[in-house]
């Protein structure tokens, strides 16, 4: 898989999208702004997972743990320790990266399904602690009403904050993917044995990738707190991890922007479906099944393939 830079057409597309996202708050109702912010947050979480899943080929089944740890880290720093939110925004991702380092160091010895199983059990341990530690984490009630600085306290303010942070994170992730480190990671995904043979430290690369992914997932958790002013234990439950996984799959887990697209589709569908039916998970399950059977490369992967057939440039920078 050749590395490809974003070429003219694609960067124009991304730029237009960004400008559209900048002006949306001026024309859209508050609810839709909130929805867009939610898409950005879920999308960032999904893209951070894709860093290890799509690019690293690591079966990170329980990625939501880092998302939740980021959110709790921020919310607790603000509410329990009483520090300024800006410090909380730093604590969240760093704490998530640290948890990821510990979990990664334990899990990285294993591969594929065994990695996923151990990771999911460690994640469940974290969930169980958060779920039961009433005095500190609020137990199953979670934490509500986390106060934000005035600048980002309003719906529009939090949206812009989410937009700029997400954009910055995406840029950082893009640079990481295109860096020598990113290439090495993809080499490990495609052939770990050969990578080891040419002198790449496979386990170390995977561990670093896990920590980076944990950091960005924690950042998504921070953004959730900013947008929703709350954190709750379901953010660390394994069902959410699989939902994030679905986003990656739906959008296309071999593409860079696919998970963001998947998140947009999922969040939008969930919102509109829940206005006329209470059976959203049924629809979600049906979509997932159809995607697995008919579109195993995801929507963006499919579009990319079609574009290639037409002799055009693939958009989104195929890995």
């Amino acid at each position: 898989m050749a590395t490809k830079n974003i070429h003219g057409r694609e960067s124009w597309f991304v730029l237009v999208l960004f400008i559209l996202l900048l002006v949306f708050p001026l024309i859209l109702a508050r609810f839709y702004i909130y929805l867009l912010a939610l898409i950005l947050v879920s999308g960032l979480a999904a893209m951070s997972l894709n860093l290890v899943l799509g690019y690293g080929g690591i079966y990170q089944f329980h990625h939501a743990v880092f998302y939740g740890v980021g959110a709790y880290g921020t919310a607790l720093t603000i509410t329990k320790l009483g520090y300024s939110p800006w410090i909380g925004f730093l604590v969240g991702p760093l704490l998530a990266a640290f948890v990821s380092l510990v979990m990664g160091a334990i899990c990285v010895r294993l591969s594929k399904l065994y990695f996923g199983m151990l990771q999911i059990s460690l994640g469940s341990l974290v969930w169980a602690i958060v779920y039961r530690w009433y005095s500190f984490t609020g137990g199953d009630d979670g934490i509500h009403g986390v106060s934000m600085p005035a600048l980002i306290g309003s719906t529009t303010g939090s949206y812009y904050f989410a937009l700029f942070v997400t954009a910055a994170c995406l840029m950082a992730m893009y640079l990481i993917v295109k860096s020598p480190f990113g290439s090495a990671l993809q080499g490990i995904r495609d052939n770990p044995v050969r990578s080891e043979a040419v002198g790449v430290n496979v386990k170390l690369h995977q561990l670093v990738a896990l920590v980076i992914a944990g950091f960005f997932a924690g950042m998504a958790g921070v953004l959730f707190v900013v947008v929703d002013n709350s954190a709750f234990p379901d953010m660390l439950f394994w069902t959410l991890s699989l939902e994030i996984l679905i986003m990656c799959l739906l959008g296309g887990w071999l593409t860079f922007l696919g998970p963001m697209l998947g998140a947009a589709i999922m969040v939008a569908l969930r919102t509109f479906a829940s206005t006329f039916t209470e059976y959203w998970t049924l629809i979600q399950g049906a979509i997932l099944m159809l995607v697995i059977i008919f579109l195993p490369e995801g929507v963006l992967g499919y579009v990319n393939a079609k574009f290639k057939q037409l002799g055009n440039l693939a958009f989104g920078g195929k890995a």
């Binding site: 334990i106 010895r109 341990l125 679905i246 697995i292």
Partner: protein, 279 residues
Amino acid sequence: MSRTTILFIVASGLTLILGVLRIPNIAHGSLYMIGAFIAFSISKWFGGGTTGFWMAVALAPFAVALLSLAVERGIFAHLYEREHLMLLLLTFSFALILGDLVKMVWGGEYRTVQLPGSFKGPIPVASLPIPIYNLFLVIIGPVVALGLWLLANKTKIGKISRAAAVDREMVGAVGVNVSWVFAIVFVIGCFLAGLGGALVSPIVNVTLGMDHTLIMEAFLIVIIGGLGNVWGALLGALIFGLTQSLGILIWPQFGIVFPYAAVVTVLIFRPTGLLKSTW
């Protein structure tokens, strides 16, 4: 201990499917939940009481097995060649769909199955009052384990399925219809999920969401026992159930943390499980 039995029965079905078909079946928990709901409906149909209970325990697992046969033949049978991640997500899609179907059919209320009169009340065992039904469950567990062992080692289908787990193509080459062997194993595994659900229905609230925690626990049990190893599932269920009970005794608030910690400890030292896995 009664909970250990339920965990073992469900986990043994899961490990059977994992061992032979290599599908990490997340929908297993949903089948357990459906088993419990069907047991409730059957018991109600027969007017509760003794007949209702026995009919429920006898028929509910078969209903679940029928459902799983339809799903296996309809969808899974065509997708065995996909990688684990895809299969895992596919079973997750089933878990989502089945969960909502249960909501459609039975709604979100709490329900429970009536125990027959002979099972009510405690019985003194070594001067401790033990509920009779729990004692019954403790006896059922080893019976199921023995039954599975006999099935795997003494019958033709058991031998073929063990062979198919090791080398699918070779078994196919000697003229066995592997696809149907897989179907039978899958159905037996799901039957056990339904049995677990039916047996648990009198002692817990039968409700939506009872699948979510159970499937995670069953998976962890299967992993620490060794993938595909039925005795491993028994050992894992014992470890999980005992640490849970002990945890609740020692530190009630963090009772649920103990079994997870035990699982992590086991996996750090024996990443592929305590007993030999069939993979």
